[in-house]
Symmetry: C2
Subunit: 208 residues, 2 copies
């Protein structure tokens, strides 16, 4: 669909902002804008105002860097969590995913990204200093590196390992292996190889 075909400059601009979102092309963007125009004006207004509030009011927990409405988020403020174990994750979606398992009772640190030379993201673009401060205070005993098992995740894992290995902390990472419910024959060689190399005593698989 050509640009010049839009009947209105404003329509074109609205299509453009939606098409700037990941996974949304110009055709889908147009569909979304026309959908909004068919709704009540309040729906569009609420959408726009929520975005402006997102720009102006969004805050990050001063302890763990997760998105929060307060200076310190609920998890970091909770006396029921184990504050000596810090799970290091890429983003807020990972905190949600781990919280959803109901298996983790420690606290978090949100890096806000992964080292990715291709995308121009270096170590300085990650939020690490609040974690260092917590470590210096001596309240942290273990850091769990819970980053995606990708090239970027492994690079960042290694960077953090080097940065914290002399601090006397226990540094662990997520177990790599065959997925629960997955068919063995479809597991890739690297994963299957690692899961054999790092095999665990049978009774330990029932820890949870």
């Amino acid at each position: 669909m050509e640009l010049s075909k839009y009947s209105s400059k404003l329509l074109e601009e609205a299509v453009e902002v939606f098409a700037g979102l990941p996974g949304i092309g110009r055709k889908t963007a147009l569909r979304l804008v026309l959908f909004l125009l068919r709704q009540d004006k309040e729906v569009i207004g609420r959408f726009g105002e929520t975005l402006l509030r997102l720009r102006d009011e969004i805050r990050y927990c001063s302890v763990c860097n997760n998105i929060s409405d307060k200076e310190v988020c609920d998890i970091c403020a909770s006396p029921h969590r184990d504050h000596s174990t810090v799970c290091v994750v890429e983003g807020p979606q990972d905190v949600m995913a781990i919280e959803n398992t109901g298996q983790y009772h420690g606290v978090y640190h949100v890096l806000g990204g992964l080292i990715s030379p291709v995308d121009g993201v270096g170590p300085d673009d990650l939020v690490v200093s609040p974690l260092e401060e917590r470590v210096k205070k001596g309240e942290v005993k273990e850091i769990i590196l819970a980053l995606s098992p990708t090239m970027e995740g492994d690079t960042t894992n290694f960077y953090l390992f080097r940065r914290f290995r002399d601090s006397g902390l226990k540094i662990t990472t997520l177990a790599r292996g065959v997925a629960v419910g997955g068919e063995l024959e479809y597991a890739d060689e690297v994963t299957l190889g690692r899961s054999i190399a790092n095999r665990t005593p049978f009774e330990e698989t029932f820890r949870f």
Copy 2:
């Protein structure tokens, strides 16, 4: 993903407005919001402000009801278009689709919807009166009903046909038949049946 798991009320609200869009679930909505939060603040600001402008400034052509920045849209204002032929369509996306063919030189009328009892859309919810005014002025000679070949489209076609049949206009509709480039064996029976019943002289298929 449970609601209570969101670390911020504002984040939850932002996810909700995105999840209100068609084809976007809560998980995708969260991904889009977190994507926006990783961008510059101006990107979110531009998004929000464009939506507020969409709410406040969007206008519709007073002649054809298409989205327009002006009182009368470029197509309706053009002296190069055939103003005696009006193509009646459901929405602005259909105007764009027909304009993209480059085959149509008449003008349009945008209904803004189709009659759909299931969705609670009746004839009064459609924009028809500006078309009636144009017909009364006597400048229109032919109305092309170019609505989707669905139940709703056919219902609306029939409603418009009854409303305009006594006005002495030529009322036509899009040719139904096998799609260009489609395999005959995969065409549905109704379409194939109609394309046989309404077969056209061979030389006419080269009119364009």
